[in-house]
């Protein structure tokens, strides 16, 4: 039950930050639906007889009831604790014995359970996964043990980096009551208050074949995938699934947040953040935003590199981009590390200058270059079946369609320069919200 951050890192690598989204090889990807509404996505990859088998439920931490943060995540843990047929711990034991990796991850919008193993063990994995879709059994002792484990893991995670709690707090404040501001695993109080009823209710409300996607990425052909999907998942009856409207962030009458903290750190951090929840699922403007964020921060030819590194020598450790793989939690961010706390005001000034420079310098040539890069990167994501599977879970779990992925190249090519100019012109006018972490004794004066 590894940390969500590990999953996110993989996705990050594959999706946004490393300029490696979809793949031309996804031309071979196919999808179909079982009678019970379960979506199945198959991406063949015949390097070696291994496969990624995943079931993604379209429910994540944003579906936790108010005050019950951590439900989805705790359920994820408990899914390994046994069903009517399978004893607690046997799921992983059986996969391990057969040389596979078994894990799961809870995100804001979805939860994915997956195995990476020799293709000959796929049927075993499918049997087990299908079994726990309906047969989960939660006994009170196990529940309490697992809740304690989740609690301990949170402590470990928070203690890993001195800035973790600070940025968690910032995220909470900035989202103004929206569940995207909550920590995925819940706070300490929330975790300790969770009951087995909470978890069982979530399971009943969300874990059904018609609310799930089966992902098969690796050494399999579509025909066999169809047969096996039908054989192991076809008999599970569909169920009514809870659809609750995710609360929007509360209005703030234009107040802009500025969170500053001093801590015993050697390196300072700064983050500028823009919430953008209003971009709905099928709006193709996210492709324009993607290119815009590449333009700002991807590589040494990017605008931010020119300003922060070349011009002002402030830092070369930064990241800027548009996080679009989210149903209602999309945001735009800039994150930078810097050694000398005293240059913090310069970091903020440079940020503004970078945005204005971007608006001024965007050109057709530049846009062509950006498109070329994004499209060239298409080839990577379906190389590693594990990465492909996790990426598909993220893509589909945040409301996008496989067809969107297949047409990614077209969407990118179709981005009009006027749209980029619109975005580039607007960004310097919007005030971001800031999080600044400085060493003790450091100054935060403007």
């Amino acid at each position: 039950m590894k940390r969500i951050s590990q999953t996110i890192f993989l996705l990050f690598l594959c999706a946004v930050g490393y300029a490696r989204p979809a793949s031309a090889l996804l031309d071979n990807a196919e999808e179909f639906y079982l009678q019970n509404g379960m979506q199945v996505v198959v991406i063949p990859n015949h390097r070696a007889p291994l496969i990624f088998h995943g079931v993604m439920y379209k429910a994540g931490s944003v579906n936790d009831p108010i005050g019950r943060g951590g439900t989805a995540h705790l359920l994820e843990h408990l899914m390994f604790r046994g069903t009517q047929k399978i004893k607690s711990g046997d799921f992983n034991r059986l996969i391990e014995e057969n040389g596979g990796i078994s894990n799961a991850g809870t995100s804001y919008d979805y939860t994915v359970y997956y195995q990476l193993l020799d293709v000959k063990s796929l049927e075993l994995a499918m049997y087990l996964e299908a079994d726990r879709m309906t047969g989960l059994k939660i006994n009170e002792t196990d529940f309490q043990k697992e809740r304690d484990i989740v609690f301990q893991e949170r402590q470990q995670r928070l203690n890993k980096g001195r800035d973790k709690q600070f940025f968690e707090k910032f995220n909470q404040l900035i989202w103004r009551g929206s569940p995207y501001g909550r920590s995925i695993g819940g706070t300490n109080q929330e975790i300790r208050a969770l009951t087995s009823e909470d978890v069982k209710t979530f399971y009943q409300n969300h874990y059904a074949p018609n609310n799930a996607v089966l992902i098969l990425s690796g050494d399999i052909d579509v025909k066999t995938a169809k047969e096996l999907a039908e054989k192991y998942y076809g008999h599970i009856p569909p169920r009514a699934v809870e659809t609750v409207k995710i609360p929007e962030p509360e209005s703030d009458n234009g107040a802009r947040l500025r969170l500053v903290a001093h801590q015993s750190v050697d390196v300072s951090s700064i983050m500028a953040y823009y919430m953008m929840p209003e971009f709905a699922g099928n709006d193709t403007s996210q492709y324009a935003w993607l290119l815009y964020s590449d333009y700002l921060g991807s590589g040494s030819n990017s605008v931010f590199y020119k300003i922060f590194v070349d011009k002002y020598h402030l830092t070369s450790s930064f990241d800027v981009g548009y996080s679009f793989l989210s149903r209602q939690g999309r945001h735009f961010y800039f994150y930078g590390l810097f050694n000398d706390a005293k240059v913090q005001p310069k970091m903020e000034k440079a940020f503004g200058e970078a945005l204005r420079t971007a608006a001024r310098d965007i050109s057709e040539d530049k846009l062509s270059e950006l498109k070329e890069k994004r499209i060239a990167a298409l080839v990577y994501c379906s190389d590693n079946p594990h990465e492909t599977g996790m990426f598909l879970a993220d893509w589909l779990g945040t409301g996008y369609a496989l067809a969107d992925l297949k047409h990614f190249e077209d969407y990118i090519n179709g981005v009009d320069i006027r749209r980029i100019k619109e975005i580039a012109d607007i960004m310097p006018e919007i005030e971001p919200e800031w999080a600044i972490l400085l060493p003790r004794g450091g100054s935060d004066e403007k």
């Binding site: 300029a19 490696r20 090889l25 990859n45 390097r47 070696a48 007889p49 291994l50 399978i86 992983n92 034991r93 391990e96 014995e97 040389g99 596979g100 990796i101 990476l116 020799d118 293709v119 000959k120 063990s121 796929l122 075993l124 043990k145 304690d148 484990i149 301990q152 402590q155 470990q156 928070l158 203690n159 890993k160 968690e168 706070t187 300490n188 109080q189 050494d219 066999t224 015993s264 750190v265 050697d266 390196v267 590589g299 040494s300 030819n301 020598h313 830092t315 070369s316 450790s317 590390l337 270059e369 890069k373 060239a376 080839v379 990577y380 190389d383 590693n384 079946p385 594990h386 990465e387």
Partner: protein
């Protein structure tokens, strides 16, 4: 006359028939249960996907002109090529003591402009093709990875060659690289696990160059000048010290020609001396480093057999049983299942230019750590005292053999594996043979190795100790 209850013959026949029918039905029910009873082995053995024939062929190739050697795994699943290179006798242990970390800066600066390309042009050539090239200096090796689409291989080879033979090493770029390296150093000081690892190895190696950390140090990094980088390049990154692993969409012929392009003009001769001799003691007392942290971490070090020693596989089995990432591992059973602890723990064997050793790490929150430490210590010694059972050995073997296929998940992982195979002289048939080697290990060998290596005197521990407990949570354990 008494009345006798006599079953008529027809009734007898009927009853016998009924009895037989009942028997048959019961048998049928039992068999039906069998078919629906969960049988994992059956599911695997009878899977329609079983019986895939898979042969991993590795070729030894040599480039036609320069005679550069490489190991190649041809793989046409995707149009990508992965090349992993390594220069021996390079890395921070081989840096000048006053400037250690110079190889770290070199790794950065090789990407900062070469030949006719300044840094932007150079990186743009790669980025627009979504090709990647990066270098990394570790303790006793200087590594490089290249990933690209096969049709771009000539351009990538040209860029690589320029980086190695005509790097610009512009002073303003060196400043940027220095800043970045110093930031990285401080960030790693803040990370509890990195901090401990650096402090522990500093103690363990007691002044030997292998004890240097891979981030350099702000003082020694700032002493590096472009001329130092130039001489380092000429001296250490020579083809005598080179190992290459290639996997992907490329033939032996194409790979050979590519190597000649990549290494044209790169000096050949090695003049780097071996590292000084090293004596490490693994039976010293526990060393504790206080820090402000909410979790406590332990690092362990122990002597291990050489990679090609007959004790290697037996020791690997023992280590797997103890620390393996499995529900059956001894540590997991004691710490997680019995004591209900949440923890992280792993250990592995490592081999550097002067030392064969086991190293690992385990961590838990401050209140649970003493218990975890006790378990680690106790289980380590118990393994040495009691050894393992045949059953345990078979479980470990089965898992290791079954998971072998996962090494083919990623193309770059494969090219790195080919690198390691050469570095440790594992043989070109290693990928096919590894499972066999594992299968051939017998219980006696394992327990002999366990007795030798898993002892109190062969376990050196370093602890990161929380100075202020409950860091990050207030008194009630609430946090927000």
């Amino acid at each position: 006359m008494k009345n006798k209850t006599v079953l008529s013959n027809s009734l007898k026949r009927w009853l016998s028939f009924a009895f037989v029918v009942m028997l048959v039905c019961s048998l049928g029910l039992v068999l039906k249960q069998e078919a629906y009873r969960f049988n994992p082995q059956y599911l695997v053995e009878n899977s329609v996907l079983n019986g895939r024939d898979f042969k991993a062929e590795v070729q030894q190739i040599e480039s036609p002109k320069l005679k550069i050697k490489a190991w190649l795994y041809e793989d046409y699943a995707n149009p990508l090529v992965n090349i992993s290179i390594m220069f021996r006798r390079a890395g921070v242990a081989y840096d000048n003591g006053k400037r250690f970390g110079e190889s770290v800066l070199l790794a950065d600066m090789l990407m900062a402009g070469a030949g006719k390309y300044n840094i932007k042009a150079f990186q743009n050539e790669l980025e627009r093709r979504a090709a990647s090239m990066n270098f990394e200096a570790l303790k006793d090796g200087f590594y490089g990875d290249l990933r690209f689409v096969t049709k771009d291989r000539f351009k990538v080879a040209e860029l690589f060659n320029l980086a190695l033979t005509k790097p610009r090493f512009a002073p303003e770029q060196l400043k940027v690289a220095l800043n970045s390296a110093v930031t990285s150093y401080y960030r790693h000081q803040e990370d509890a696990a990195s901090y401990l690892s650096v402090a522990a190895e500093d103690e363990l190696y007691a002044g030997h160059p292998l004890g240097r950390n891979v981030y350099g140090s702000p003082k020694t990094l700032s002493a590096v000048r472009p001329e130092h980088l130039r001489s380092y390049l000429k001296k250490h990154l020579v083809t005598d010290n080179l190992i290459v692993g290639i996997s992907g969409h490329i033939s032996a012929d194409e790979a050979g020609h590519l190597l000649d392009k990549m290494f044209a003009g790169v000096p050949q001769k090695n003049t780097v001396a071996e590292l000084p001799e090293l004596q490490v003691s693994f039976s010293e007392k526990v060393v504790v480093f206080p820090a402000s942290t909410g979790q406590e971490i332990g690092r362990l070090y122990a002597a291990a057999p050489a990679r090609l020693s007959p004790e290697f596989y037996p020791t690997m089995m023992a280590l797997e049983l103890l620390f393996g990432d499995s529900l059956d591992s001894r540590i997991h059973k004691e710490a997680r299942e019995k004591a209900g602890l949440t923890y992280g723990a792993y250990a592995t064997m490592r081999f550097n230019d002067r030392l064969n050793y086991i190293t690992g790490q385990f961590s838990a929150t401050t209140d649970k750590f003493p218990q975890l430490l006790f378990i680690v210590n106790e289980e380590w010694q118990r393994l040495g005292r009691e050894g393992m059972t045949e059953r345990e050995l078979n479980t470990v073997k089965k898992r290791l053999i079954a998971s072998d296929i996962l090494r083919y998940t990623d193309g770059l992982q494969l090219s790195r594996t080919l690198l390691m195979m050469q570095k440790f002289n594992l043989g070109v048939d290693f990928l096919q043979k590894n499972s066999e080697y594992i299968r051939n290990v017998n219980l006696e060998e394992v327990n002999t190795a366990a007795k030798k290596y898993f002892t109190e005197d062969n376990l050196r521990l370093f602890i990161l100790y929380a100075e202020n407990k409950n860091q990050g949570v207030n008194k009630n354990g609430n946090d927000g």
